[in-house]
């Protein structure tokens, strides 16, 4: 009887140890982390945070927060009262991205024209001081950004865009 009990406990211990090793050492490595803070007039606030991937919400939280996310690029949206801010973030395996939102922000509305006809151009928004990519959108779009100076780089490649649109439709 005792032998059975001891064997049972031993097997249980091994399984538990393996699980813990997996949770602590293996599983975290396939994810990345996002630390997020929001400030309103230099005061940290609790704002609602949504992380979107390919147009779908993948995580909701309140700032300040530390989230674990699968690697990839996400669109972050922070809402505080009637104020909104957006930006893109790239999550890498085992790394922590620190994002700080400074409210209130302003809006940027962007259009591109070719031969007086509105067209779809890809616009990359860079923060001018740090040359950090804040967001990448296709015109026409409106985006809520933090106050500051930005550099917008628009690229128009009709055939490429057409091909991408076709791919999406398929």
């Amino acid at each position: 009887m005792d032998i059975f009990l001891i064997t049972f406990l031993l097997i249980g211990t091994i399984i538990l140890t393996a699980y813990l090793v997996y949770r602590v050492f293996v599983k975290p490595r396939v994810k990345g982390f996002l630390e997020c803070h929001a400030y309103y007039n230099m005061t940290e606030i609790k704002a609602s945070l949504k992380a979107y991937k390919e147009g779908k919400i993948v995580k909701k939280s309140k700032t300040p927060c530390l989230l674990s996310l699968k690697p990839g690029s996400y669109l972050l949206e922070v809402i505080y009262l009637s104020e909104i801010l957006e930006r893109d973030v790239e999550i890498k395996v085992g790394e922590k991205a620190l994002i700080e939102f400074k409210l209130p922000g302003g809006k940027l509305e962007c259009h591109a024209y070719h031969n007086s006809k509105e067209i779809s151009a890809i616009v990359e928004i860079y923060r001018k001081e740090t040359e950090e990519l804040v967001a990448k959108r296709t015109t026409p779009f409106t985006i809520d950004l933090e106050v500051g100076e930005y550099s917008l780089k628009a690229t128009y490649a009709p055939e490429k865009l057409e091909a991408e649109v076709k791919k999406k439709v398929v």
Binding site: G106, E109, Y156
Partner: protein
């Protein structure tokens, strides 16, 4: 891939909206179009007129008047550079430039056979020379494009031939499934792609291949047709030109070989275009003739395209060339005459650049020694390792010594009318048997009713190519003849040979018309 980029700086202020607009300027859309007679000269003049900086020509053959007309369309301050492939062409350019007062630089490159015109940002790659025949008379094809990928490659190619210091590299497109350019077209030349691209495309052919080449030689045609898998239908359009045979530019045996290996071979007397279409999905339009010098030593240039619009235009053009199928009987007669004529022609080795010039043109070339005597280091030709056996001699004909020859003796030749008789006899035989009979019955009727014509028939098989040289039976001949007739139809009447049976298909009115027309020829036959 053409794209435009713009950068704008913007300052975002709290609780405000910044509105930004990117005004993209007009994009120059790359275009490509097929140029055919009678629009060739107009397009050449237009390209030259639009040029703002420089115009460059490569043409092996150039004559004075067309060159003068082209130079008259060039703006005064524009520099024109010409690479001429023959001494007479060199002389013609010099004379035309003197008379037109334009700034023209010319260089002689005897191994160049490319036909290219390029200006600031467009180019015309073609099969035509700057001669009256090339611009107005012959069946030529050219491609006009402003695709910058092509234009820049053409300019580099020109500059390499102009100056040996200039670097020119070309990617090999043989294994490419898609051509990643806006026009789905790329520039190809003998530096890398030609002739191996031609071989590769033919090896990959699954359904059909169409050749258009005015000049051919046996070894080159053999090499090319050997690449093609069995089951691929080959069609060819060629030029049956006795003078070219005499001058050694073309080869009657090559045409004979094509007739053997192709589904159909057509002849077009004024043909000068060079096209290859494989499986209706890709095409090469170039200056390459299927000859050993075309594949192995001349510097040729062209375009490799997968553009459906271009291929459709080329197909339409090729359909317009299919006027007269090669008559094997007629071809044999011409070959026999040619063999007889060759005995009376004095020939000598051809020097580089002679290119069978007219005697008058050669008069012009006497003063040009300095340029032609300079050696030029050509790029390495991609076909240099092609082991094509050269024709017996590369010859130049001394035309004034050609004696007038009499036509070949026709004593043993069956008259063409006999073949018509046998064809009509077959159809009438089938009509007699109520449009459906055994092959043996048909043979019997034909033997009984039109035996003299039938006796002639084995002497010269005009169409059933596969039977040539065999010891055939009447049934084989008749079967092959029926197959031919079935393919060709006659006055809307088709004879179809299925296993051992013969069927006649025709509308009633066609049958009546046929009978009415041939009643007198077959007076011994009475139709029920």
């Amino acid at each position: 891939m053409s794209s435009l980029m713009q950068t704008i700086d913007v300052e975002i202020k709290a609780k405000t909206i910044a509105r930004i607009t990117f005004p993209f300027k007009e994009l120059r859309k790359p275009s490509i179009k097929v140029i055919l007679r009678p629009h060739i000269s107009k397009n050449v003049f237009d390209v030259v007129k639009r040029s703002q900086k420089e115009t460059c020509f490569i043409s092996p053959f150039i004559t004075y008047s067309p060159m003068k007309s082209v130079l008259d369309h060039v703006k005064d301050h524009i520099l024109v550079r010409v690479i001429a492939g023959t001494k007479s062409a060199y002389a013609a350019v010099i004379n035309a430039s003197k008379d037109s007062g334009k700034k023209v630089l010319v260089k002689y490159r005897g191994q160049v056979h490319s036909k290219v015109l390029t200006s600031d940002n467009e180019c015309l790659i073609s099969s035509f020379n700057i001669t009256q025949a090339g611009l107005e008379k012959q069946a030529e094809v050219g491609i006009l494009t402003n695709d910058l990928n092509i234009v820049s490659n053409v300019k580099d190619y020109f500059n390499r031939l102009w100056n040996r210091e200039h670097e020119y590299k070309e990617e090999y497109y043989g294994g490419k499934i898609e051509l990643d350019t806006p026009t789905q077209t790329v520039f190809v030349s003998s530096v890398t792609n030609l002739p191996y691209l031609i071989f590769d495309l033919l090896k990959q052919a699954k359904k059909d291949a169409i050749f258009v080449s005015p000049f051919l030689d046996y070894e080159a045609v053999k090499k090319i047709t050997d690449c093609i898998n069995r089951g691929v239908q080959i069609n060819a359009i060629v030029k049956v030109d006795e003078r070219a045979w005499e001058e050694g530019r073309s080869d009657p045996w090559a045409i004979d070989l094509l007739v053997d290996r192709c589904k159909r071979v057509w002849e077009k007397p004024d043909l000068h275009a060079k096209i290859l279409i494989v499986d209706n999905s890709c095409a090469i339009i170039s200056s390459t003739n299927i000859t050993h010098i075309g594949l192995g030593s001349n510097f040729e240039a062209g375009l490799y395209t997968k553009n459906p619009d271009v291929i459709n235009s080329l197909k339409t053009f090729i359909e317009s060339l299919k006027v007269k199928p090669i008559d094997e009987w007629e071809l044999e007669r011409k070959i026999r005459t040619y063999l007889k004529v060759m005995k009376s022609i004095e020939v000598k080795f051809q020097d580089e650049g002679d290119h069978y010039c007219d005697e008058k043109e050669l008069e012009l070339t006497r003063g040009i020694k300095a340029e032609t005597e300079k050696g030029f280091e050509y790029p390495i030709h991609s076909g240099y390792d092609l082991k094509l056996e050269q024709p017996p001699r590369r010859i130049r004909v001394i035309r004034r010594k050609i004696k007038k020859y009499k036509p070949v003796d026709e004593v043993f030749r069956p008259k063409p009318v006999d073949l018509v008789v046998i064809e009509d006899a077959l159809i009438l035989g089938a009509l007699l048997c109520n449009r459906h009979c055994k092959l043996d019955d048909l043979i019997r009727i034909v033997k009984e009713k039109v035996s003299p014509a039938f006796c002639y028939f084995p002497f010269k098989i005009q169409f059933p190519i596969g039977l040539r040289g065999k010891n055939w039976s009447d049934s084989d001949i008749l079967g092959a003849c029926l197959k031919f007739l079935g393919e060709r139809g006659r006055h809307g009447i088709r004879l179809i040979h299925r296993k051992n049976e013969v069927h006649l298909e025709a509308k009633e009115e066609y049958v009546k018309e046929f009978v009415r027309r041939y009643k007198s020829t077959f007076s011994t036959l009475k139709l029920s």
